[in-house]
């Protein structure tokens, strides 16, 4: 696995905005973000249920953002194991993977092209991307391993 944090800063492009730099605001403020869909709002709720305070849905990231996947879970399904979740896992969106948003469609930033672990690029719509919760980039040792998260969204 190539470790993103070991890479020298890419000189030929603007410095990527790390997710960690997004101020850690309470859920209420984050919810008012421009262009946020109902599904993304539920995704935020899910992140709080899962105890991932500084996570945000992949669909709200901007071009050039990089981060680490903290959880993969369909916000519209109460339980883990939905079709969307399995599809995302099979395409490499798994807990602990580094992602970078490379391109976004025009207009309305849909679909997205996301690079996973510096090796595979996957295109997906915002609707599916909102099932991927992304947090700040961590050192290799701190990264979550692909483990199912306990706790369910309907609790």
């Amino acid at each position: 696995m190539i470790r993103l944090d070991d890479q020298p800063p890419l000189a030929d492009r603007r410095r990527p905005r790390l997710v960690a730099e997004t101020p850690n605001k309470p859920a209420l403020v984050r919810r008012s973000r421009r262009g946020e869909t109902e599904r993304e709002r539920r995704s935020f709720e899910l992140s709080i249920v899962l105890g991932l305070e500084n996570a945000q849905p992949l669909s709200l990231l901007r071009c050039g953002d990089i981060g680490c996947i903290l959880a993969v879970r369909d916000p519209d399904h109460h339980l883990s194991g939905s079709e969307v979740e399995r599809g995302l896992l099979e395409m490499g969106f798994v807990e602990g993977a580094c992602i970078e948003v490379l391109h976004q469609g025009f207009p309305s930033r849909d679909p997205l092209a996301v690079r996973i672990n510096q090796s595979m690029t996957v295109a997906l719509r915002r609707s599916e991307a909102s099932a991927v919760l992304v947090g700040p980039l961590l050192a290799q040792s701190e990264r979550p391993s692909p483990m199912p998260r306990s706790g369910s969204a309907n609790s």
């Binding site: 194991g81 399995r86 099979e90 395409m91 679909p111 595979m120 690029t121 295109a123 997906l124 692909p146």
Partner: protein, 635 residues
Amino acid sequence: MTAATLAEDGDRLARIALVGFPNCGKTTLFNTLTGSRQKTANYPGVTVERKSGLLRTPVGRAVEVIDLPGSYSLRARSPDEAVTRDVVLGRQAQEAIPDAIVCVTDATNLGQHLRLLLELRQLGRPLILALNMMDIAQKRGYQIDAEILAQQLGIPVVTTVALRKNGVKDLLGQLDAVLGQATAHNAPTAAVEAWTEPSSDDIRAYHREVERLLREATVREGAPERFTRQLDRVLLHPIAGPIILLSILFLMFQAVFSWAAWPMDWIDGATVALQQTLSEQMEDSLLKSLLIDGIIAGVGGVVIFLPQILILFFFILLLEDFGYMARAAFLMDRIMSGVGLNGRAFLPLLSSFACAIPGIMAARTIAHPIDRMITILIAPLMTCSARLPVYALLVAAFIPNVVVWDFVGLQGLVMFGLYAAGIVGALVVAGLLRLTIMRGSQQPLLMELPSYKLPSPANVLLGLLDRAKAFLRRAGTLIMSIIVILWFLSSFPGAPNGATEPAIYYSYAGVIGRTIEPVLAPIGFNWQIAIALVPGLAAREVAVAALGTVYALSGEEDAVVEALGVTLAQGWSLATALSLLAWYVFAPQCLATLAVARRETNSWRWAAFMFTYMMALAYVAAFITYRVALALGGG
């Protein structure tokens, strides 16, 4: 070399299946392994192609290689992936479980690809791991210890360079070893019987295992690919991207439209020349008519589509191999999802402007069955080149050649309107189908954007050969029989003695035309049009010639068209002409398209549905046009 001769000097034809992610170089490997000894068939009951070929191992064992559709998981999400799953599990009808599986992986992306291998290993079947594209991996600095991998996995691991003939030596050697043991006990193991779809936690566990394996086996990490990234910055740019896409599409469209014209003229000329030679040599008889107007016209009518199909698929295969098709789908997804379609539907629909037949065949690139079905159903609404002769005739005869505004002529404006009507009609139909019979949640777009690579000429050529054979053999026979039947309808029975009308008037086609005339009267069609519509089912442009026959014009083709224009302008009302134009925008006036739709959907029901909805749409459109034109004084 055929399967029989190969099998004779070996013991028994062993069978191996290639399984791997899409874009792992599996098809290139398949082509290198089997060369031109390939054949394509269909799996029973589905439209998925079964590609197989033959190879001989170093010890002389004959092996049938099956190239299974690319799959991200055994948990099949599309009909293609379902075939892969069923063959691997030995559940596919008329297909025994393969003696061994070769899992093809991209050595530069093992972190993802090895997950599929672990799923396959679960089955306990003879398995070989091929680390493909090893040359690219080495160039980028990857160093993977295949021996450690083999030890950890407990299966043979080989490195391959699919593009080079001697890049597959190791694989062939391993095949001998594995098949030597495998052929003795070729029954599904208990693990195969007990297979269930992996749950999301299973997939996470596979990912963990892959991470562990790679920690063990990776000697050195390679550098990430830079070229693809940089090229994508331009090709997927929000503004430059669509402009480049449109330029490429314009070039393709132009090529299909105009480059194909030359070979098509040539085929047409050859057909006519052959018909003329025969008609001079033979005496008038039934056989002569069958040969000239039935069979030769039928074969010509099939072959004439080949240039367009080949040119279109040349571009498609080139772009697909290069890796651009996924980008095109990415760029078009926003627009196409507006009517509930996939970004991949854009290309088949665009190709349909040249001819719906290659367009419908190109819909194969759409994985999801509902999306693909809608694309096939609306493809014939795009204004194809065969409508042009009819449009040209009627527009020239009835629309005054006046300048409306600056250099915009009324005739051109009407032509543009006819094209636009087809597009708007297609979008409306797609939306309506989504809301009614094609319901179901919109398919998620989860699509890999593969790294760019130079297209391999062998891949493109073999792909083209495949398409041409598939069209000629499968759709061709159907199209030809339709043309022969239509010939029969328009030549029997012959005109009685002392006939006052042209011969076609008395034929079955004439009878059918005159019978349906009352139905067509409300939309302003006279019996001449009704009769011309029947042979016009063979191909839209035939209607022009048929009108010439009905109005008893003879002579050179161009002269007939010119005279026909004058005759029509005197004989028809403007309302009738406009109504016929509206009819031609929507009507299923091409049985070849229906034959291909039947072939591609594998069901007469969908072909019948296509015919019915287009007919209804055409009737309503022509009715409204006729009535409005009459009300506005176009009678």
